[in-house]
Amino acid sequence: MSTNTAIELRHITKRFGSVVANNDVSLEIRKGEILSVLGENGCGKTTLMNMIAGIYYPDEGEILVDGKPVIIRSPKDAFKYKIGMVHQHFKLVDIFTAAENIVLVDTEDKHYKMNAVNAKVKEIADRYGFNLDPKKKIYEMSVSEKQTVEIIKVLYKNSDILILDEPTAVLTPQETEMLFKVLRKMREDGKSIIIITHKLHEVLEISDRVAVLRKGEHIATVDTKDATESSLTEMMVGQKVSLNINRSEPVDSVTRLKVIGLSATSKDGVKVLDDINFEAKSGEILGIAGIAGSGQRELLEAIAGLQPLESGEIDYNDPKTGDIVNLRDKTPLQIRNMGVRLSFVPEDRLGMGLVGNMNITDNMMLRSYRKGKSIFVDRERPKNLAEEIIEELQVNTPGVTTPVRRLSGGNVQKVLVGREISAAPRVLMVAYPVRGLDINSSYTIYNLLNEQKEKGVSVIFVGEDLDVLLELCDRILVINSGRITGICDGRTVTKEEVGLLMTKSEKAEKEVSDGQ
């Protein structure tokens, strides 16, 4: 091997249970380059990098640093080989100063002379053009300053290889510019930098080479100068795979839910929803596609009455009376009391959807305990409902008294979806309903959704697998950083088009969206 290679991965495979996260990945990182690792959610890019950083250990294959095979079992080992990773969720102690957080990594330093540490931190920051006060406490810092601390933590240990997991996801465009400037300086310094990302324009702007992963496999590594946004998208999403999911034509579609100008800001002051406008119709499945964390959760929670909004309207068209009611700023209970039949299957099944320690019957009661006039709860009907769901959806459980957390992922989801459907909803919102489910359970869920659609329910389906979205949904709404970048016809749109809408920068987004 030439001495130009910093790290080489050979035939790396990593499995989590029966899920293969990385399959036979071989990849090399050169000295003094910026390499982008590009891929959709769940394609295994973070897992792969975690194996270099010592968070996970590969099941098969080997890692070579400077041409020699090494064993990296912990972040400490990684530091030994001068590898450092900045994770998406910062690992910092809030009440410590920047310098105190940084000196934590230096496990050999027993002296603890804070003045010397402060000076060294300042020196590193100045060398690469960071703006950082070593004595500032973390809780007083902005997100970008915290990221700076994380990067300096790695540099403080003299690491030569720096891995950044989606570093720009939390930054403003100006901060991103600053970061890129710093990264270029580090490259000049001879350091290797790996950026995990799904933002195409950034890949093209900063990196020397791009490694594309898809479904855990390494597709190709290309020089950035030979790549274009569309060539990368093609590699990222790949060929369309036929799944044979049934899709009937919508009948008697009328507007059931109309969302106008929805905007919301998160606690950190980041805009999570930005002027969202769309209609959901009865008897159709509206898919929502997007990179994870683009605002899908906030959008569904806004409709369900869980997310405070800055502006906008959510108009529900009541099929019985024909009245239009605004759901904004209503609690879930108020929404239900208004006669709006809205069901929500959240992403976090055992957190928001069901109570893990309670049994199936009791979980059914969560939706019905207010019914009836007696002060005692009615246990009979929920029990019947639980039995019905177990029978109809073939939930694999010893009985209705089994705590939900003991069931497998697929069975938990069946219980949750079954409960929500039993309320005879007019609007059914499901978020990542097949995540972690095996093929059979997935198809059961698709069939249930189709059944609801045929009953005239307006189904909103947030998904991550583009193949599923393309075969199941009548229309696909693409969301990108809290904004809608396109609403496409599910029957005619191609995977690449949706992929581009999901990842493209703001400038050139409208071209592809052909509406409906």
Binding site: Y56, F96, E100, L104, Y112, K153
Partner: protein, 320 residues
């Protein structure tokens, strides 16, 4: 002289709270809320008393300091074992800290009642007579310092040393990092489990001294073991009152001492006699002070005055 007496007595009883709270602070700084402190203190006292009893026959042969040293060691080991048990259940078995702590208190107090009642009732004064290092510090208030028992100095020394280690050394920085965010500490290669175990065991040992001090020095009687539990809860309250800072704790323990015995001195100092009915209410004063401090710090919301961010949170290394 009653005011001087009052202040000295307050200082003297404050040492119990100081030892208990310093031990608990170390434990809480690694993120573990040990509600077993009353039990730990009781068991520490029991261990010390058993060792003393065993050594009592040799009081004419062995030097006094050795007997005291062995008693302290026995106390530290017994209380430390309670800490080890707590750690095993909460750190290794990931069990709920509050439930485990409360169970430990029940267990510790129970075992103390059983063991202490078995001990031969040697008058406490006989111990004190034989071992002048354990001595009621303020029997002669005119020359208080001279009569301070050795444990008073040990307690003050421990509090200052703990503060130094926590805030002035790398070990202390690591320890606080574990309590603030175990995941962060783990990611930089700090052995989280080891820090939790060592801190909790040492903390429990120190808290155990509080129990022994009470029996041998302050109360001067084995019979007093039943009161340790109540004093233990006050120590837990003192941790909150001191904002998790050992040096504030030195001052806080004195305040708690003043409040705790205010009832007994009200008559002689203020010249008023409180009705008997008020006595139990007066005993609540330290808790009232704790609540007031809690309210004040909650209003000011200074991050440095908050409990360790990881307090009470069981740490699992991230698995997928």
């Amino acid at each position: 002289m009653s005011i001087v007496n009052y202040l000295l007595s307050a200082f003297s009883i404050g040492i119990i709270f100081l030892l208990g709270a310093t031990g608990e602070i170390i434990t809480e700084k690694v993120g573990h809320l040990n509600l077993g402190i009353p039990g730990v203190m009781s068991v520490g006292a029991t261990g010390g008393c058993i060792a003393l009893q065993a050594m009592y026959k040799y009081r004419d042969v062995l030097p006094g300091w050795l007997i005291v040293l062995v008693a302290l060691l026995a106390c530290f080991i017994c209380a430390g074992l309670m800490g080890l048990l707590y750690c095993f259940i909460t750190v290794s078995l990931h069990s709920n800290q509050n439930v485990t702590g409360l169970a430990l208190t029940t267990f510790g107090v129970g075992i103390t009642k059983y063991e202490m009642s078995k001990l031969t009732r040697i008058g406490a004064h006989e111990y004190l007579y034989a071992l002048p290092i354990f001595r009621q510090p303020f029997s002669d208030s005119t020359n208080a310092l001279k009569y301070c028992g050795v444990m008073t100095f040990i307690a003050l020394f421990i509090a200052i040393a703990v503060s130094f280690v926590l805030y002035r050394t790398k070990v202390g920085l690591n320890l606080r990092a574990v309590g603030e965010s175990a995941a962060t500490a783990d990611a930089v290669g700090i052995n989280v489990t080891a820090y939790k175990y060592v801190a909790t065991i040492i903390g429990s040992g120190i808290a155990g001294f509080g129990g022994l001090y009470y029996i041998m020095d302050y109360a001067g009687s084995q019979e007093a073991y039943l009161s340790i539990e109540a004093l233990g809860w006050l120590s837990v309250a003192l941790v909150i009152f001191s904002l998790w800072k050992p040096l504030v704790c030195v001052f806080g323990s004195f305040v708690f001492g003043l409040l705790y015995i205010a009832n007994a001195y009200a008559a002689s100092i203020l010249g008023i006699t409180l009705p008997m009915k008020l006595t139990p209410i007066m005993k609540l004063l330290p808790y009232v002070a704790t609540v007031i401090i809690l309210v004040l710090t909650s209003i000011r919301k200074r991050r440095e005055n908050q409990p360790p961010a990881g307090l009470g949170i069981t740490y699992f290394r991230e698995e997928r």
